[in-house]
C-alpha cells in the first residue's frame, strides 16, 4: 500500500531535502516547497494528504499560508512545525484548523506518528464527505450533478 502524500514546506532547503529523504525511506511520497507561494502552487496542481508547514518563513509566513490553504477548500490536513517560541502562533494555527503542531527540532518518529494521525483524519473526512453526498443523492437523485459537479472536489 502506498504511503501518504506529503508536502513539506520550509524555507530551509537542507531541512526539506533531509526530511524528504527520511520520509521517503519510510514509504511516504514527499514533495517539498521552500516558500508559502510555492506550496500553494503545488497544492493547486496536485492533491496531498498532509502538509507539514513551518510557521516561520520569510515572505508569506506559515499562518498566512495556512489561511490560503484553507481557502482552497481541499481535503488535506496541515501539521505545524514551530520553533518553541511560537507556541502561541501554533495554537492560533490550530484555531484556524491545523491538525496539530510539533516543536523543532523533532525526532523523526514523532513526526511520523503525527503524520499518520493527520492522514487518518483526512481519510475519515473524505469518507464522511462521500457518505454525506451519497445520502443526499439517495434522498434526491436529481441533485447528483450538483453534488458531484466534477470528478474531483
Amino acid at each position: 500500500m502506498l504511503g501518504a502524500k506529503i508536502l513539506l514546506v520550509d524555507d530551509e532547503v537542507v531541512f526539506t531535502e533531509n526530511m524528504s529523504k527520511l520520509l521517503s525511506s519510510r514509504g511516504y511520497r514527499v514533495a517539498t516547497a521552500n516558500s508559502g507561494d510555492e506550496a500553494i502552487r503545488n497544492l493547486e496542481r496536485e492533491n496531498f494528504d498532509v502538509v507539514v508547514l513551518d510557521l516561520k518563513m520569510p515572505g508569506m509566513d506559515g499562518l498566512t499560508t495556512l489561511k490560503e490553504i484553507k481557502k482552497l477548500d481541499l481535503f488535506t490536513e496541515t501539521l505545524i512545525l514551530t520553533g518553541h517560541g511560537s507556541i502561541d502562533s501554533a495554537l492560533d494555527a490550530i484555531k484556524l484548523g491545523a491538525y496539530d503542531y510539533l516543536t523543532k527540532p523533532c525526532e523523526i518518529d514523532e513526526l511520523v506518528a503525527k503524520i499518520e494521525g493527520a492522514w487518518g483524519k483526512k481519510d475519515e473526512e473524505v469518507k464522511k464527505d462521500i457518505q454525506e453526498k451519497i445520502q443526499k443523492v439517495v434522498e434526491s437523485p436529481s441533485s447528483v450533478f450538483d453534488v458531484f459537479p466534477r470528478e474531483k472536489k
Binding site: 531541512f15 533531509n18 527520511l22 525511506s25 520553533g83 517560541g85 511560537s86 502561541d88 484555531k95 523523526i108
Partner: protein, 591 residues
C-alpha cells in the same frame, strides 16, 4: 540570617552604605541646626526684647516711685514746719508784746503751744535790738544778746526764720523757729526752739527695705537727721551738693569707695530741696534691692528661656530623627523599586534576545537531527560495516542526540522568558498541588538522601492561578534545593503553606538544609545566567524564570540564606491574579 530578595536586598553592604550613613548624619545635623536657628533666634529676640522693655519699664516705675517718695516726704516735712511757724505767727499776731513779756503769760502760751505740738522746748520774746525780753524754758538765756546772730538778721529781714540743726548750749541737736511782729512801728520777735526728737522721727523712722534710707542735709552738707547707715546727725556728708532748685531729681549713683563715708554699692538716689529752710531731702536705696523684683523677673525669664531652648532642642532632635527615619525608609523603598525595575529590565532584554537566538538555533538543530537520522537509517541498511566502526558510530550518534537535547533544553528555557503563552487560570489548591509536585520529585530527592517535610495549613484557601506555571516554579526551586545538598549525605526540604489574609494570598516557604548562599551571591541569584554549578549542569535561568513567572502571576518571591546552614525561599501568591491575567481567563474561555 541574611535577608535578601530582588526587592529588598542588602544595598548597604559596600562603601555606598557608609556614604549614605554620612549623608543622613549631615542631613540630621543640618535639620537640627536649621530648626534651632529658626526657633531659638526668634525666642531669644523676643526674650531679649521683652526683658529689655520690662527692665526699662520697671526702672522707670522705680524712679517714679522714688520721685513720689521724695515729693511726699518733702510735703510732710514742710507741713510740719509750716505748722510750727503758723503756730508761732498766730501767737505773735494775737498777743501784744506787753502781754508776752510777762513771764507768766508767756508760760501760759508755752503750755498751750506745747499741748498742741508737744515739741517746743523753749519760747522767747526778743526786741529789735536782740535782747531777750522774756524767756521760758529750761535754760537761763535772759542776758543773751542776739543782735549779732545770723538768724536774728534773717528774721528781721524775712519775717520768718527756720534754722539749721545746731547743738547750741544744750549739746542736743535742735533748731529754732522765729517770727516777727510789727507793733506801733517797732518789730519784736517770737522765737521757739523745736525739740528735734519728733521732727527727726518724722524722717528717720521711714524705712525703705533693708538698704533704703531717708535723711535731710542742709546747704553745707551737714546731716539734719541721722541717716540709717551713712552717718550721724550734725556730721558732714560725703555727698556732693548741687544748687537748691525746685524739682526733684532721681539718678543712679555708681558704686562708691573712694570718697569719705562708708562705701556703698550702686545706689538709686532721689533728692529734692525744701523751700524754707533750704534743706535737701534725700532718699536712697541699693540698686540691687530696689531692682530686686526686676532681677527676679529677669532670672525667671532666663530660666524659662533656657528651659524652652532645651525643650526645643529635645523636640528638634526627636522630630528630626523621626524624619530621618522616614527618609531612610523611603530611600530603602526606592532602592528596592529600582532593584526590581533593574531586574525586570534585565529579564526583558534577556527575553527579547533569547527569543531570537533560540529561533535561530532551533533550525540548525533540526537539520542536525535530520542528518543524524539519515546516517542512522543508512547504517541500518548496511549490515556489513565493521563492528568497531558501528560501536563508535552508535556512540557518536547518541552523543549527538544528547547534545542536541541539551541545546533544546537551553533554548526552551530561554524561550520561556519571551513566551507570552496565555495563562490557563483555574482554582488551585496549593496543598494538593504541592503534594503532587513532591511526588514528582520524591524519587530524585530520596536518591540524594533528602526527605520532604510538610507543614501544610489546613483549610488553605484556593488561589486562582496557572498550574503549569506554578509547577515550573516549584520544580525549579525544589531542584535547586536538592542540588544544594550535593556532597551532603542527607538533608531535608521543609515546605510550609500559610494563609496570609492580610495580604489576601497564600505564602509558601521552601526551607532546605543545603549549602546556603553567600551574601554576595544572594544579590545575584535571580539574575539570568547566574549559576554556581558546573558548566553543563546549570543554565542559571531557573530562578530568573521563577522570578518573572511569580511576578507575572501577581506574587512575590524572597529569599533568606545562611552559608552552610540552608536557604529559605518564601513565595507569595494572591488569591486572585492581577487584572491582566484575569483578562487572559476570559480569552481562554472564549477559546
Amino acid at each position: 540570617m541574611n535577608n535578601s530578595s530582588p526587592a529588598n536586598s542588602n544595598q548597604y553592604k559596600n562603601g555606598n552604605g557608609t556614604a549614605r550613613e554620612g549623608y543622613y548624619r549631615r542631613l540630621f545635623r543640618r535639620f537640627i541646626l536649621l530648626t534651632l536657628l529658626c526657633s531659638l533666634i526668634p525666642l531669644l529676640l523676643v526674650g531679649w526684647g521683652i526683658n529689655n522693655y520690662y527692665t526699662r519699664f520697671a526702672r522707670n516705675r522705680m524712679m517714679l516711685s522714688f520721685h513720689t517718695k521724695v515729693e511726699n516726704h518733702r510735703k510732710i516735712i514742710e507741713l510740719f514746719l509750716k505748722n510750727r511757724v503758723s503756730g508761732l505767727q498766730v501767737i505773735a499776731k494775737t498777743h501784744p508784746k506787753e502781754y508776752l513779756v510777762n513771764v507768766s503769760n508767756l508760760a501760759h502760751v508755752f503750755d498751750i503751744l506745747n499741748s498742741e505740738y508737744r515739741s517746743i522746748t523753749d519760747l522767747g520774746v526778743i526786741d529789735e535790738r536782740g535782747r531777750h525780753l522774756a524767756y521760758i524754758g529750761p535754760y537761763n538765756l535772759m542776758d543773751k544778746n542776739y543782735s549779732k546772730a545770723f538768724w536774728f538778721k534773717e528774721v528781721m529781714k524775712e519775717g520768718v526764720y527756720i534754722s539749721d540743726m545746731f547743738m547750741g548750749f544744750r549739746k542736743v541737736p535742735h533748731f529754732i523757729v522765729a517770727v516777727t511782729r510789727s507793733e506801733n512801728g517797732r518789730k519784736w520777735i517770737l522765737r521757739a526752739t523745736i525739740d528735734t526728737e519728733s521732727f527727726r522721727s518724722l524722717v528717720e523712722n521711714v524705712r525703705i527695705g533693708k538698704t533704703g534710707e531717708v535723711y535731710l542735709l542742709n546747704r553745707s552738707g551737714i546731716y539734719q537727721t541721722s541717716p540709717r547707715f551713712s552717718g550721724k546727725i550734725m556730721e558732714k556728708a560725703s555727698q556732693p551738693l548741687g544748687k537748691p532748685c525746685e524739682g526733684i531729681e532721681v539718678r543712679m549713683e555708681d558704686k562708691s569707695t573712694n570718697h569719705a563715708g562708708p562705701p556703698h554699692p550702686r545706689q538709686l538716689i532721689a533728692f529734692g530741696w525744701l523751700k524754707q529752710p533750704q534743706w535737701m531731702l534725700v532718699v536712697r536705696q541699693d540698686y540691687s534691692e530696689a531692682f530686686n523684683d526686676v532681677n527676679h523677673a529677669n532670672l525667671a525669664a532666663l530660666v524659662f528661656l533656657v528651659l524652652s531652648a532645651c525643650a526645643i532642642l529635645i523636640v528638634a532632635v526627636f522630630i528630626t530623627s523621626h524624619m530621618i527615619k522616614i527618609i531612610k525608609k523611603r530611600d530603602l523603598e526606592a532602592d528596592g523599586l529600582n532593584k526590581q525595575l533593574m531586574q525586570a529590565g534585565k529579564l526583558a532584554s534577556v527575553g527579547e534576545l533569547s527569543a531570537g537566538v533560540a529561533h535561530e538555533i532551533n533550525n540548525p538543530l533540526a537539520i542536525i537531527l535530520t542528518e543524524r537520522q539519515i546516517l542512522m537509517d543508512l547504517a541500518k541498511q548496511s549490515p556489513l560495516l565493521p563492528r568497531d566502526f558501528m560501536d563508535q558510530f552508535n556512540n557518536s550518534m547518541s552523543q549527538i542526540d544528547m547534545q542536541i537535547q541539551r541545546c533544546k533544553r537551553i533554548t526552551e528555557n530561554l524561550l520561556r522568558f519571551s513566551r507570552r503563552t496565555k495563562s490557563v487560570i483555574e482554582p488551585v489548591d496549593l496543598n494538593e498541588f504541592l503534594c503532587e509536585v513532591i511526588n514528582l520529585m520524591e524519587r530524585e530527592a530520596r536518591s540524594g538522601g533528602i526527605k520532604f517535610l510538610t507543614d501544610l495549613e489546613e483549610g488553605l484557601q484556593t488561589v486562582l492561578s496557572d498550574p503549569s506555571q506554578l509547577q515550573q516554579v516549584f520544580l525549579n526551586i525544589i531542584t535547586n534545593a536538592i542540588d544544594a545538598h550535593e556532597g551532603k549525605p542527607y538533608g531535608s526540604i521543609r515546605i510550609r503553606t500559610r494563609n496570609d489574609s492580610a495580604k489576601a494570598g497564600v505564602s509558601i516557604t521552601f526551607e532546605d538544609t543545603g549549602c546556603g548562599i553567600s551574601p554576595k551571591n544572594l544579590e545575584r541569584i535571580f539574575d539570568p545566567f547566574f549559576t554556581t554549578k558546573q558548566v553543563g549542569r546549570g543554565t542559571g535561568l531557573g530562578l530568573s524564570i521563577c522570578y518573572s513567572t511569580v511576578k507575572r502571576l501577581g506574587g512575590d518571591i524572597t529569599v533568606e540564606s545562611e552559608l552552610g546552614k540552608g536557604t529559605q525561599f518564601t513565595l507569595f501568591f494572591p488569591y486572585n491574579p492581577p487584572a491582566d491575567l484575569q483578562k487572559d481567563i476570559e480569552d481562554v474561555h472564549t477559546f
